[in-house]
Symmetry: C2
Subunit: 150 residues, 2 copies
Amino acid sequence: MMNRESIVKALREKGIKLTPQRLAIIEVLIERNDDHPGAGVIYREARKKIRRISLSTVYATLGEFSRRGIIKTLQFDQMENRYEGNLAEHVNLICKGCGKIIDYEAPISLDPAKVAKKTGFQMLDSRLEYYGYCRDCAGRPKGKRDKILL
Amino acid sequence: MMNRESIVKALREKGIKLTPQRLAIIEVLIERNDDHPGAGVIYREARKKIRRISLSTVYATLGEFSRRGIIKTLQFDQMENRYEGNLAEHVNLICKGCGKIIDYEAPISLDPAKVAKKTGFQMLDSRLEYYGYCRDCAGRPKGKRDKILL
DNA sequence: AGCTAATCTGGAATGATTCTGAATTGTATA
DNA sequence: TATACAATTCAGAATCATTCCAGATTAGCT
């Protein structure tokens, strides 16, 4: 999971063409998996690998991958959207100080059948997040930590 | 909870001035509580109540209320942010078809102490969401439902 | 090698949100 | 009830991540 071969295989199976731009993006996604990078970071990193790549392509590619279920998009409005390859159900701990996102494995899940019976709602994907301060930012003086930087 | 008196009281206690604009916004928030309205809807509805109110004021007010813990902001990037007065911990079921947001009461919670011990992360507030299709949209033909309208 | 749909590109457009600086107004106090 | 001032409001400009566009390029099949 989340290695170059498995992703390339997934793309081939789904009939998605393999381009140098996409390979570069995949590499960044793998290398920076723990960072949950945003489009800007991914663009800058990918650019180091191949000269010719545009921001539009980065967005298009991330959108495509996300739509096809290869990665997951974490949407925000106060900071860039972020992308992650960890598709197993987990909670994201998001630091309000530095924007760091920590994956936290925990057996939190609703029973889709029960929800459907009660509300008629058909669950597809989830977003489980807790906001707070990470170890580093919790210790920092108050004024210095209320902006999301990264 | 979420009635005019309790909110007005909360504002007075926190030293937030009561203006006609804010009262109008509060009324909209109460009347449309189940809709989890966005800033645009709130602006248009508030405008029906008092002629003079600007979109900037709506944003400033919602931001202030949210910062003070009087309401909660649900952030998105593909659609307007939405606001809710239900501060009890619950899961939001969000329809990908029509944007409807359903509150679902369920005892889902991590133990903050355990999380802190394991990761050093200090939890403050949560965001628990499931995306899918509501009863109405689940039955609708596929092409007609993949855009969030509202 | 050639074909064609998919993909890439950079620049323009979008749209929700935030910022700005001047005008207005609640509310505490005299 | 008048005064004072910080808080609030306002309209318009600015921001900025993201999407759209239309033309150029290219991966992968035959």
